[in-house]
């Protein structure tokens, strides 16, 4: 926009009169910080109230030992904020997840948008304690707060042509330092088959540990599919598109040989780099060793989705 205006110069403003972008952004940051500080001074109780969520407990993962809040929020793969595990927690501090709207488009009765507040009211929020297995060979147990993705799909009213669902993450190189580097084909794209998306285990998470989702974990809303490798869980979702063809995801584009569309946790399908038969549980300690990885990450009920499919080929 800025560049276009300069070229055509319809307003007659000299380029030298325009605030340099860096300064402009710096001012915005100062305002933002000042705003947050002022809000903190004036409305401490309201601000705190916004941090905790109202939700129902569920039986999911009751028997699991939770990974600590500190580990869950400091060891993240979120390349938009950098490729190091500690980068997202540091770089996402000033990221503003509100206000937020998600575009719903593609094979739906009518394209529309939904605000995050409205999304959170589509179904009662539930706590789901899920194991999360990363393709890199480590895992966590995370108490998510969210709602079934099915609730949003029902609201979106997809047509008969909707065979797959595509999730597009927010992409803003100005506020996401990692997104300025082409490590992946931005924006981050993930996808599910419709029946996978409707599976009751599949949720849109808006919080963890009873609180609003931290920025580094994908605020304000992310996908959680516990029987698949962690990278399927698109973060900071900005667009949901219903499509007829299998989406071409970011990691498939990066290396189709290594990352398949399904990406189901499967100890029998080895990754070219990492062993997938066992995993390291984060927070278990230096001498804990590894635990055996289970097919579908132990969520056996999803097996019927793949009946008759060659999981070696469709990895």
């Amino acid at each position: 926009m800025l560049l276009d205006n300069n070229r055509r110069n319809p307003s007659g403003i000299l380029p030298s009169e325009i605030t340099p972008q860096a300064l402009f952004e710096q001012r915005r940051t100062v305002l933002k910080v000042a705003g947050v500080a002022a809000a903190g001074l004036l409305l401490p109780t309201q601000l705190q109230a916004a941090q905790t969520l109202d939700f129902q407990k569920t039986a999911f993962g009751k028997e699991e030992k939770l990974t600590s809040f500190e580990d869950v929020t400091s060891y993240n793969n979120y390349y938009e904020f950098g490729t190091g595990k500690e980068d997202p927690a540091r770089e996402a501090v000033l990221f503003k997840p509100t206000p937020w709207t998600i575009k719903i488009e593609g094979a739906v009765k009518q394209s529309k948008t939904i605000g995050i507040e409205q999304l959170m009211k589509l179904a009662p929020l539930e706590e789901r304690i899920y194991r999360m297995r990363c393709v890199e060979g480590w895992s966590m147990v995370i108490p998510w707060v969210g709602l079934p993705l099915k609730a949003l799909i029902d609201w979106a009213q997809p047509t008969g042509n909707a065979k797959y669902i595509e999730f597009i993450s927010y992409n803003d190189p100005r506020h996401m330092p990692g997104a300025r580097i082409p490590v992946l084909d931005w924006p981050y794209i993930e996808g599910l088959r419709m029946d996978e998306a409707m599976q009751p285990l599949t949720i849109l998470a808006v919080g963890l540990y009873g609180k609003v989702l931290p920025n580094q974990n994908g605020a304000p809303v992310r996908l959680v599919v516990p029987w698949k490798y962690g990278f399927k869980g698109a973060k900071a979702i900005s667009t949901i598109r219903f499509v007829e063809q299998m989406p071409h995801t970011s990691w498939m584009k990066a290396s189709a040989r290594e990352y398949g569309f399904y990406a189901n946790v499967n100890p029998a399908v080895d990754h070219p780099r990492w062993t997938q038969s066992s995993e390291k549980r984060i927070g278990a300690g230096l001498f804990a060793g590894r635990i055996k990885t289970r097919l579908f990450n132990g969520y056996d009920e999803v097996g019927q989705l793949y009946a008759g499919m060659d999981l070696q080929k469709n990895f």
Binding site: S74, T83, I181, R273, R290
Partner: protein, 222 residues
């Protein structure tokens, strides 16, 4: 990233000052001084790991942290030992050769810590799983090959072996170039997508090889 490059280049400048200072000392003293400094410096990374281990500072994935750290330091010592020859020619300080073997042995020490972390802390000596991991994953395989090739070099890094092997010692120790390539492959193949670090280490390795070429060509001709 910029901070990282700055750290590395300022380390190089410090090394330059160090060499200048050592040059004014007597021949025997400066070798002793430099060796003492290398010993002290080489203990810092492992002491840091122990300190972090006791103060809960190794992060969410401590095993990975130790594997990365010890692996990186093994590579750094490999590059330092390869740096001695060009440094000797560039600074005209022939005596520097006296510390090359020490640097090589520290590379071996960190490689051993690296592999011990992998076998013990990572895999709990589960030999069936380890064998599978080595055979199936190229990056582990080249890493294992690099370690095997390091064994004869470490075993012959003493005066007695040099005397016994004579000319063959030199040929044997040319294996360090092969080890260097294998270790860099190990690094490249392990990285998921962001290859910044392997690129930087590979460039340093390439530079150290290039600096050798004039001498190598001269020796060929004569």
């Amino acid at each position: 990233m910029q901070a990282w490059i700055y750290k590395k280049t300022s380390n190089m400048r410090m090394m330059q000052y160090l060499v200048q200072w050592l040059a004014v000392l007597s021949a025997k003293n400066r070798i002793l001084w430099l060796k003492a400094l290398i010993w002290l410096g080489a203990f810092i990374p492992v002491l840091r790991l122990i300190y972090l281990g006791f103060t809960d500072g190794l992060g969410a994935n401590p095993v990975e942290f130790i594997e990365r750290s010890t692996g990186t330091w093994a590579l750094v010592f490999l590059l330092l030992s390869l740096g001695i020859t060009p440094l000797r020619y560039l600074t005209q300080q022939a005596w520097l050769i006296a510390v090359r073997r020490l640097l090589g042995l520290w590379m071996f020490a960190y490689a051993c810590l690296h592999v011990t972390t992998y076998l013990w802390l990572d895999y709990q000596f589960d030999w069936a799983d380890i064998a599978k991991d080595i055979v199936k994953h190229p990056y582990v395989l080249v890493g294992a090959a690099a370690l095997l090739l390091t064994l004869p070099l470490a075993a012959t890094s003493n005066q007695r072996a040099i005397k016994a092997l004579r000319q063959r010692w030199k040929s044997l120790h040319k294996l360090v170039y092969v080890i260097g390539v294998l270790v860099l492959l190990h690094f490249w193949w392990l990285v998921k997508k962001d290859v910044t670090e392997p690129v930087i280490y590979s460039l340093v390795f390439a530079l150290l090889i290039t600096l050798r070429l004039p001498v190598f060509i001269k020796n060929r001709k004569s």
